[in-house]
Structures are given as structure tokens and as C-alpha cells.
């Protein structure tokens, strides 16, 4: 039996329910995916709200990325639940004191009131044009997506733009809410000293911005490479610069949390310190902090300090972007899994054994990470985000 094999690796004394982890790799995916959503959206809003024109080529791509990942976000949770068929109870009879009960509402608000509305307004002209020009099934798809609207006069497009801008302004705090809230789910568990800190939502937010920006940066490079179009270096440099700034803030906050824990050294300190130096050493110190934070920060700093060729910068951005995503994933892993490796007695430690083709194993986790890219590919086909496509949004 699985518990028996785990027991041989338990060190010290644990409560019986702590030997087998309650939250698996799927719960690691949940904050990772929502972080990508929030980060991609915040990057998109740079152009829309803060008028950072340089990042325009990534604007629509960032929005579609956010949507693709948001659609997948609840799936790992559903797969993890003992009774997924009851999850709609959270909408019908939410328990108002529960942080988790708010997930459904925060999710729906962000999906239906922010992201879908913003994308629809931004693409409405394209959708209407497609509905007019296409034939066959696609014509009906676009007609359905147009929701009955057919007016693309300059006046109506101007209204689209104004409303879209308003939605983006509402969207920024919503994106903050979406991911800050995910941080709160962990940060508010007072029984667990690894999680319980008011820093958690803030650290989650900044790491979300970091991971979302890195993802959009990589996707933009990938998409340009696939389409054999030139990369807009001004755009790439600007996204990388914002990624660098956000990463510096994120890393500072995480280090502040760490220094505070070490200096305060409360009753949990020895237990957590031992865990970080042993069972979490690889994923926390090596992957998260060294490979996933210091190396990409160094690479990004290099591009800020030294004059490099376009090719060299692109290469450095690509490496930094991949390492950043690995680092942020490791951060989610260390929060979720790390928070369950030590006993609440502070006297023992367990291990996490991930299955492969099990319900909460590695295979479903990989499939869940591939799925948003499949959805994104579909969305890109349906709603091309290219500025040079025939359906380009005219600057209003």
C-alpha cells in the first residue's frame, strides 16, 4: 500500500493524516496557471491603460493567452476534488466565511465581466468583417460570436474602444484580485506556518506578473518564429524590461519574507529551516532561487547594462524567459508541496510521491499544461492577433 511505502520515509513524528499529502501537483498547477492569466492580462493592460505603445504587438496575444489559461484554471481543481459533481454547490450555497468559496465568483467575474468582454470589444470589428466575408460553418461561428452586432461605423468602434478601456481599468484590480485571492487561500491558513503570512498574496501577485510577462515574451518570440516574421525588438526589449522590474520587486519581497522568517525565528523556524535544507533543497534553493531567479535576473540585468546585438538579446530573453517560468513553477511547488512536507507538530517530515498515470499524477498534470496551448492555437486561428493581418484593428 502507498502509505506503507511512505511510512518508511517519514522522519520523526507526524500526525497520521500528514503522511500522505492532501494537495498534489494539481494544486501546484492551480496558482501557476492563474498566475499566468493575471500576469498576461496585466501586461496587456500596459498598452491599453498606461499607453505603453511599444508592447502593442503583444496586446492581443496576451489577452488570448490569458483567456486560454483561464479556461483551464478550474480543471486541476475539479480533477482533485473528491466530488467534482458537487462543486456547483459553491455557487448555490457559498459559505461566506470561506476564502475558497469565493473562487467561483472571482473566476466568473474575471472571465465573463473582464476578459471575454474586453476581447470581444477589441475583436468586434474583425468578427463582424469575418461574419460578412466567410462562407460555410465559419460564417456561422463568426455570426454567433458577433452576438447580433453588425455596426462597424467609426462611431461604434470609438464606443468599443472607450468601453474596452473602461473594462481594462476594471480588469487590472480584477486581475490583482484573482491572483491575490489565490495567495490569500494559502496565506490565511494559520495552522500552517509555511503558508501563514500576509506577504503571500503580495508575493503571489508579483510572481504572477513575472510569470505572465515571461510567458507572453516567449510566445511572442515563438509565434514570430513560426510565422517567419521579424520580431519587433522595441516591443521585446520593453516587455523584457518590465519583466526585469517586476522580477526585482518579486525577488525582493520573497527575500524580505525569508529574512523576516530567519530573524524572527519563531517556534516553527527550526522545522522549516531543516526542511528547506534537506527535502526542499533541490526545488527551493537550486531550482527556484538559483536557476529560476538569480540566473534569469542576471541575464536580464545584462541586457539592461551591456549593449548587445538583437540576436544576442533575443537569445538571452528566451533563456531568461524559460528559466523564469521554471522558477515560478518551482515557487508554486515549494509553497504547495513544501507546506505539507513538515508536520504541524514541528517534529517530523514526510515525502511527496507523485503517481504517473493516476488521477492526480504527472500525466494529467502534463496534459493540463498542454491544453491551454492547444486552446490558444485554436483562438489564434479564430481571432488572429497579428497587427498585419487583414483584420487589423484600425487605430482609433
Amino acid at each position: 500500500m502507498e502509505v506503507e511505502s511512505l511510512l518508511s520515509q517519514v522522519e520523526g513524528f507526524m500526525y497520521p493524516n500528514e503522511i500522505e499529502l492532501q494537495w498534489s501537483v494539481l494544486i501546484v498547477l492551480y496558482p501557476f496557471i492563474t498566475g499566468l492569466v493575471a500576469g498576461a492580462f496585466i501586461l496587456a493592460s500596459l498598452e491599453r491603460v498606461f499607453k505603453v505603445e511599444e508592447v502593442r504587438p503583444t496586446y492581443r496575444l496576451a489577452l488570448l493567452t490569458a483567456l486560454a489559461f483561464l479556461l483551464v484554471a478550474p480543471l486541476p481543481l475539479q480533477l482533485h476534488l473528491g466530488h467534482p459533481e458537487r462543486s456547483f454547490e459553491m455557487y448555490l450555497t457559498p459559505h461566506t466565511t470561506s476564502a475558497m468559496a469565493m473562487f467561483g465568483f472571482v473566476y466568473l467575474w474575471y472571465l465573463m465581466a473582464v476578459l471575454v468582454v474586453e476581447i470581444w470589444l477589441d475583436y468586434r470589428r474583425d468578427i463582424v468583417l469575418q461574419a460578412r466575408s466567410r462562407t460555410g460553418v465559419l460564417r456561422w461561428v463568426y455570426r454567433a460570436m458577433a452576438l447580433g452586432s453588425d455596426n462597424i461605423s467609426p462611431r461604434s468602434l470609438e464606443i468599443d474602444d472607450r468601453v474596452g478601456r473602461f473594462v481594462t481599468i476594471v480588469g487590472i484590480p480584477s486581475a490583482f484580485l484573482l491572483h491575490g485571492y489565490v495567495g490569500f487561500i494559502f496565506g490565511s491558513v494559520k495552522a500552517n506556518p509555511w503558508w501563514s503570512t500576509p506577504m503571500m498574496p503580495v508575493v503571489f501577485l508579483f510572481s504572477a506578473i513575472v510569470s505572465g510577462s515571461a510567458l507572453v515574451l516567449l510566445l511572442y518570440m515563438l509565434v514570430s518564429w513560426v510565422r517567419r516574421t521579424a520580431i519587433d525588438m522595441r516591443c521585446l526589449d520593453t516587455v523584457a524590461r518590465y519583466l526585469f522590474y517586476a522580477f526585482v520587486i518579486d525577488f525582493s519581497l520573497e527575500m524580505l519574507d525569508l529574512v523576516h522568517r530567519i530573524y524572527e525565528a519563531d517556534e516553527s523556524f527550526h522545522s522549516l529551516d531543516f526542511m528547506v535544507k534537506t527535502r526542499l533543497f533541490g526545488s527551493q534553493i537550486v531550482v527556484q532561487i538559483l536557476l529560476g531567479t538569480l540566473v534569469p535576473l542576471g541575464l536580464l540585468a545584462l541586457t539592461q547594462l551591456v549593449r548587445l546585438s538583437n540576436r544576442a538579446r533575443t537569445g538571452l530573453y528566451a533563456v531568461a524567459g524559460v528559466l523564469t517560468l521554471v522558477g515560478i513553477f518551482a515557487m508554486r511547488w515549494n509553497v504547495v508541496i513544501g507546506g505539507q512536507l513538515f508536520s504541524k507538530t514541528f517534529l517530523g517530515y514526510t515525502v511527496y510521491k507523485m503517481g504517473f498515470a493516476t488521477r492526480e499524477g504527472l500525466l494529467p498534470a502534463i496534459l493540463l499544461m498542454v491544453l491551454p496551448f492547444v486552446i490558444l492555437a485554436g483562438l489564434i486561428r479564430l481571432l488572429p492577433p497579428w497587427p498585419d493581418s487583414a483584420t487589423r484593428r484600425e487605430p482609433v
Binding site: 497520521p16 492532501q22 454547490e89 459559505h95 470561506s98 468559496a101 500552517n192
Partner: protein, 167 residues
């Protein structure tokens, strides 16, 4: 005490005192063994009740924390939130389970099963809501502790003369 006349004990020096006293036991060897029963603390301010997204975990009017198995999603947030490790997932129903304080018995005027069978009467069930219940005298006259008082959960399980090492 060496064997011999039990009425006249003498102090023994091992090996006549050569080599001193035997080594003390290493610190990580249990120097004292005792049994501390752990059960759901039926907290007045239960973290598990607070975090349950659908209210499947609730406090009964008489102050017992219970789980509605027909409602539980199996999200395990309550397992994470309980500081005492008192909750687990029932693999058969995929819902959470824990000590019910024998709710089916105590609502019929019986005591809990653990109190019923305890051969030395070390466990006792009291009615904290009843001012004339003898439990109040006991709590007043004895040194009683709750587990992890810093968690401020309003635990209703009291331990008399609890060892400080218990967590």
C-alpha cells in the same frame, strides 16, 4: 538497589565506582513515555468550519463540529486548516471525516464511546453550556491545558496536567 534485604537498602556503586556512573541515555531517546489521546477539539472558533467552501463542516447548536458527508466536496481545505491533524479523507466516500464526539450517543443522553470504555475514568464528558455541570468545578480546581493555545481556536478538549512537550 541490590538484591538482598529489602528492609535495608544500600546505595550501589556500579563496578565499585570505577568508570563512574553509566552514560545517560541520548537526548533523542524517549526518556518518558505516556499516552495522549488526540481527538477533534470541537473548537468554538473552528478553522475547519471557517474554511469549508460549502458549509459541509458546521457547528451544531450544542457546539459539536460535524461534517455533512452528502455535501462535502472533498477539497481538503479543512484538513489543511485544522492545526491538530484531526481530519482525514475517508477513501470510501472521498469526503472528509473526523471524531463526531459520538453525536449519535450524546444526543441520547449517553456518554461518548471513549469515555464509556476508559477503564480508569481518565476521560470525562462534560456539558460546558450547563453551568451546574461538574466539569466547571474540575476546570476551576485543576491545572488544565488545551493543545496549541496560541492558535486561539477555542478548543473544548481539556487535558489535566498535560506535559509541555505535547503538540
Amino acid at each position: 538497589m541490590p538484591e538482598g534485604d529489602v528492609d535495608r537498602p544500600v546505595v550501589d556503586s556500579p563496578d565499585g565506582g570505577y568508570g563512574g556512573f553509566p552514560e545517560r541515555q541520548p537526548a533523542d531517546d524517549p526518556s518518558k513515555n505516556f499516552f495522549v489521546p488526540k481527538l477533534c477539539n470541537h473548537c468554538a472558533h473552528s478553522p475547519c468550519v471557517q474554511v469549508c467552501p460549502v458549509g459541509a463542516t458546521f457547528e451544531s447548536p450544542d457546539g459539536v463540529v460535524l461534517v455533512d458527508k452528502d455535501y462535502c466536496l472533498g477539497c481538503r481545505y479543512c484538513v489543511q486548516a485544522c492545526p491538530y491533524g484531526c481530519r482525514f479523507i475517508d477513501p470510501r466516500s472521498q469526503t472528509v471525516d473526523k471524531c463526531t464526539l459520538c453525536y449519535h450517543r450524546i444526543t441520547r443522553g449517553l456518554t461518548t464511546a471513549c469515555c464509556e470504555v476508559c477503564p480508569t475514568g481518565a476521560r470525562a464528558l462534560g456539558d460546558l453550556k450547563n453551568p451546574s455541570d461538574p466539569i466547571h468545578d474540575f476546570l476551576r480546581d485543576h491545572k488544565v491545558h488545551v493543545l496549541k493555545p496560541q492558535m486561539a481556536t477555542g478548543s473544548k478538549v481539556y487535558y489535566a496536567d498535560l506535559d509541555g512537550s505535547v503538540r
